[in-house]
Every structure is written in C-alpha cells, then in structure tokens.
Symmetry: D2
Subunit: 230 residues, 4 copies
C-alpha cells in the first residue's frame, strides 16, 4: 500500500456544467475512488501551495497529475519541489492533458507537443508490452467508445518502455502509455482522460491506474551521494 | 553509394499467377529498381548457397531480406554467415513476413510472433520519430490503400528507436519501423510488403527503403578486438 | 517469496581441489544459502534433463545460471525450454562465465564475447543507477579484493538498464550489471563470480542476488495471445 | 561539411595565467583548430547575445558547448533559443563541465550531478560500442595521462547509446560518452576536457570531436507538424 497524492487543477468542474455532471466532486475524487486500496489524499490548484507543501510531498510515494487550462498558474516553487521529489524517487503519473504541464515538460526536456482533435469517436489502446506490470490483468486491448483524439508525433524522449499504443477511429495512432526513469523516480504518462467523457469510470482504465501506482512506488532505494568525495 | 544485396525467397512469384502478375520478375527485381542509385545485386533461395556465398556477403554493405513460406529451407550455414556479417557491421533490412525468418529470430532472440489477417483494407504508417534519417523527406504519414494486417503484440525486444507505427482500418496498430543495433550492425525491420499488393511500387515506401539503406550502411568502424588480451 | 531454481554446471567443484576448497558442496549450494528467504531448488548438468525437466521449469519463477567449461553439453531441448519459459515470463539471472552459455547467447542474439584475464587483483563495482531496485541497500560501490578481470567491449545488445559498471585495478572497465526484457521475462546479467575466489560469500554480492531475484520474479502478467485473430 | 559553432565561456583563459598558458587564444580556438575540416565560427559569453543571436543559431548545424564557472550568467533567452534549435534538429555536443550548463540540464530534465576530484592522474576511456560512428578510427581505448576525475553516479537519463566508459587511476568509473535524441536533435555529452590539462590537443580526443560533429549534424529531416490538425 502506497501513499498516493492526486493533484487536480479542479477548474473545469467548477466552471462548466457539462463537466460537473460527469465529475461532480472533481476528477480527483473519481481517481481517489479508483485507488481506494491505497492511502490517498488529494490536492488542487487553488489551495495554498496548490495543496503540495513540502510536508505533503515528503510523504508521497506516488503523485498523480491532472491539469489542462491553467498549467502556467502552477508556481515555479511547486514545480521545482515536485521535480526534486521525483528525482529522489517519488513516482509520478501524468494523465491526459498533463502532457503540457510544466512538471512533465521540465522532466522530459522536450516540448511534449502532439496533435489533437475534439472527436467523440472510439479509441482502442493496444497492449504492446504484455509482460509489463502496468498491463497486468488486462485483455489484449482496452476499448473506449468516445474520446478526444491525440495523434503522433508526440514530442517526448523515446520511452524506456512503451506499454500502450492507441488506435483512433478517425485514423490516428498515439503512444499512450510511456514509462520513464528520471533520477531515482519512475514516471508514467497515460493518455486516456478528458473532462467530459467519463474515462476514469472505466474498469480497465482504473486497473491501469492501480497497476501504475504499484509500478511507480519507490522501493527502498540506496543513498544517493553526490558532490565531491572526501 | 552502398553495395546492396537483395535476398528474395522467390517462390510465390513462380508458383502463383496472381503474384506473378504483380511481381513478374520477382519481388527482388522491384526492390532493386527502387534502390537503383546503389550498386545492387540480388540473390534467391534456390541458387547455390541461396545466392549468399561468403564472397558475396563479404562485400555487401546492406542486405535486404524477403521471405515467407520457406524460412526453414534456409541452411544453418547461411543463417550463421549472415548473422556474423551483421555483428561485424553489415546493415540488414528485414521486410514484412521476414519477421519469421531464422536470420531475424536469431538476431532478436525472441519469437517475433504477431497477429495477422488477410484484410485488403487501408494501412496508414505514422511517422512517430520525424527527426530520424529513415523518415527524411516523408509526409507525416504514408497511406497504403490495401494491405495485409499485422497487429500487436509483436514479440521483439524493445526497439532502440521506433520510427513508424501503423494504423489499420480494421482496428489494429503495429510497430512498423523498428531500429536495432546488434554487434556493429544496424538492423531495420519494415512491415509493409506483400506478395499480391503492389506495396513496393509505392513512392513513399521506396523512399523509406532508400533512407534505410543509407542509415544501415556501415561507417568506417573501428577494429573489434575480442578474447584474451596478451 | 519466489520459487527459485539454481542451475550449476557443477564440474569444477568435483574435478579441481582448489575449487572444492572454496565451494565444497558446489557453487549452487552457496548460492542457495544466499537466497534462503526464497523457496530454492538446485539443478546440475549431470542430472537427467540437466535437472530441468518441464515440470521444474513450469514452477520456477526465477532461474539462476552458472556455467563455464561445458556450455556445449547443455542439450538443445533444455536450452529451448529455458528460453521459452523466459519469453513466457520466468526471470533469468546469468552469472559470470554464463555470458557464454547457449541460453544467454540465444536470448541476446549476439556473440556475448568480452576480454578477460586471470588477475587476482581488485574490482570495484560502481552503482550507476542508484534508484534501481537491484541496487537497494547498497553503498555507492562494492569492493571485491581479488577477482578475475572481464573487460570491454562486451558484445551484448545495449542493456535496457545498466546498474553496475566495474573498475578493475589493472586498468579495465566492464558493464557488470545489465537488465533486459525479452518476451515477458526479465533477464539480469551479473558479472561477479569465479570458481576459486569466494565471491558468492560476499555480503554485498549476496544482497544483489536477492534484489535481482525480487526484480526478476514475474508479476501476474496478462495472457499473451498470438497468431491469427478469429 | 557542417556549419559548426563553438561556444566557450572564455573566462578562465583571461583570468588565470595557468589556463592562458595552455589555451592562450581560448579553448574555443583550440577546438576550432581540431574541427578545421568544417565551417567553424566561435562565440563567447561576453559577446552580445553571448555570440548566439538567432541568425547564428539558424545556420548552425552543430553547436559545441564549453562552460564552467558562469553557467548562471547565460541568459534565459539564449538557453531557450539553443534548446529550441536542438529540438528542431541542430546537433549539440556538450563538453566536460558543460554537464552543469543550463542548456544541458534543461534538455535532460535531471540534475546532471556527478562526483569529481582534482586529481592529475590517468584516465582511460574504453570504447564500449565499437560499431558506433563516434568511435570510428579509434583504438580500443584512449589514454589521457593527467585528468580531473568525474565519478558515478552521473544523474542523467539512461543514454540512448553509451559509447565510452572511463576508468580512473584513483578508482572510479564514468559514462564519458553519452548519446541522446531530443526532438529532432542529436546530443552527445563528452567528458574529457579541463582548463589546465591540454586535453583538446590529444589526437584521439580530436578524432572523437570530429566524429561527433559528423554524427550530430542533421540529415534533411522531414517537416514537423504539431498542434491541432485542420
């Protein structure tokens, strides 16, 4: 059981009725429900320190990140703090539009840009790495009947491991499940998610989230010693 | 300009009329035409040594491999010779059903299995690594109106670089352009190709083949010294 | 707790007194002692089926492999069986001179050659990936006062992750801890070990072996479905 | 022949006599001499725009970067400009203490920290990837009689390819030649170099620099299209 912190921008849900209908308590509440076999806390943009003061991050094993319209409102101090904790070993799961979050872009070093289209048609996530722990218990693919489309090229470093590739009914593909290590921390980017499609209610998606938390949680680790040796 | 040898099983074309119609002089002849800015020779299964005696391989910079129904008729001696030359630095481009060739399986170490279906519907190859030399001069995707479907999971080692991901009209995806280094040699697996669809007449596919030859050709290399040091 | 099978060639110990002195019950017995928090069985070359009949491999989570002088006496049937089980998800830990075992060479696809020298001087294994689970609980390096030297170039595919790099007093370096995935299985090559230096009595080496078993053991996995889809 | 720009902080040489003795015209002048088969220009920190206005970077194929004591004096505007050009396809070669440059840290996403010691003893760089173009024409190792020591752990993402590993007489190892792709650009980090040891006069080091420029120079590339599709 890991200490999980779910971070959500939490603006859409308060500002747009069609989002509030799908996620009445916020996307973070739905994600928390999906991860209820862990010790879960939530944090949102408009709390002091965006809900991520040092004492929260210090005790977080895995942080989930959902943001969309207010990436630039996240303070540099919090971005630096999150990034440092990842390098020290905290797991990070970046969801959907979080590809453009400052935290993810800073850890990747690239633009993290992609193509997209409001679409509403089907997505099928193929498991291309069936032996990966994040794919435990899944069928050979996950079907989502209505999604927003994300298309290649996705400007990220070549993933250490690629777990999912999405097929979109409209004709595109996307590397939808990408694993990275940075410093001592594990990072998983997972494409599915949207503010008006109820993606995080899907059982297979929830299974992926649970698997990803298990995978990203730090093991005991060894002391990292840097700088000049005595 | 590289010394290119194109190896073709060359059975379908002589045994089935519908293949002979598409590739009257053999798939190797069409591939040779696509690569005519290089010094090209061809070799086929039913020649002595399958057309690949030591003196041919010694002077080959890049070998292309097309096989389908007779993988097990390729002699161990030739498989060993090809594999050794790749480890020494010869480039290898494995095409379509060549994923099940003994040469490719021996170099990969895995089963190289995949899903497939005679299909006849469209494939679109997306460039997921636009900065890669094998993608030089291409549009963002390559459209093939009628193809056989290959689907994930494709049981190969994680590619060093993934250049193309295919979208299939029937609902599948596939890692269609995979780069590997083994020993000093570069290996490129390229999915498109079939005995009855005229895939190797397509201009974009031919551009990929030329780019791949340029990429796979050995540079000068440094002497490899192995074994016990004096 | 994993089901661990330790395979040892077990010839040196019975044929040479100076080896019997260090490993009186065989290297496998010492390795079994190091892993006694797991369910351990041992197998050796001269047993029927080399001690690895199908029913043993079926229930093995992680297989350790130590061989040196009789790689070519391991039957093709057993090599195929081990390789298949790895691709299905069994972990494999290849030790020291096992780099030249047929099992390892078949899974890597390369020659796995290296430089070596009977040496008797010091080796220091630096942890280059302190966040990796195989490095859990280690200091920044492991010191072995007397070892055989293995030097680069080591002809293996680029490791998925490199955990240790060795420094040798005589002037060489070596990639001593290399992680791979092949099919659903995890493979770890670990350089230390020798028949006359008591390497497997070292506490830090034993910690690495335990960590590696934990890392290589399969998670639940998902069903792998290959071949033509219905 | 590539358009090469060599960037040097150029402070040590003007402030400390023992540096001026080794590099009287600046480290950039010595590097320019090593690369004189290319079209070379130089740029330094104290020039306007640090010598890297947009029109210079637009026409640069490969940029070399040497900095040490004034990383934080490089303006954000120039860092952003360099990084953008790398993502667009410009090659980048980061030398020695440039591991702590803002440009490199921004592209890597990690701290890029390491251990170090003023040492003055020998370093030997082993070629661990003899088939890599950056190793063309080299012996199996490069010997540098007097160097500063850099030791692991080096906090960088796992390199796409590792070409050199250094052995240090004092007991350390280091991943001294690391290849990365970010966006369309190739990045090579090369450890050797120091302000008072005449490392860049060494013939083998100069060969590496020339090879690295050839490797990092962009090929024609394909158009990168990002953002919403029409």
């Amino acid at each position: 059981m890991a200490d999980v912190t779910i971070w959500n921008e939490f603006r859409h849900e308060r500002e747009r009725d069609e989002v509030a209908t799908v996620y009445p308590d916020g996307i973070h509440a739905t994600l928390a429900d999906a991860l209820d076999d862990h010790e879960v806390t939530t944090a949102t943009l408009d709390e002091p320190d965006h809900g991520l003061p040092p004492e929260v991050l210090e005790t977080t094993d895995v942080l989930l990140w959902w943001g969309h319209t207010a990436h630039e409102e996240v303070s540099d101090a919090v971005v630096d703090r999150v990034r440092s904790r990842v390098l020290e070993g905290m797991g990070l799961i970046v969801l959907h539009s979080g590809h453009y979050s400052t935290v993810f872009k800073r850890l990747m070093g690239t633009t993290c840009s992609l193509q997209w289209r409001e679409d509403g048609r089907a997505e099928r996530l193929w498991v291309v790495d069936p032996g990966h722990p994040i794919a435990d218990g899944l069928e050979e693919s996950i079907e989502l009947p209505e999604t927003e489309m994300y298309g290649e090229p996705f400007d990220v470093p070549e993933p250490d491991r690629l777990v999912f590739v999405s097929w979109f009914e409209g004709g595109e593909v996307f590397r939808s499940g990408c694993c990275y290590r940075r410093g001592s921390g594990r990072i998983f980017y997972f494409r599915p998610g949207h503010e008006t499609y109820p993606i995080y209610e899907d059982d297979a998606v929830r299974r992926v989230l649970r698997n990803a938390v298990d995978w990203a949680a730090p093991t005991d680790g060894s002391p990292r010693t840097f700088g000049e040796r005595p």
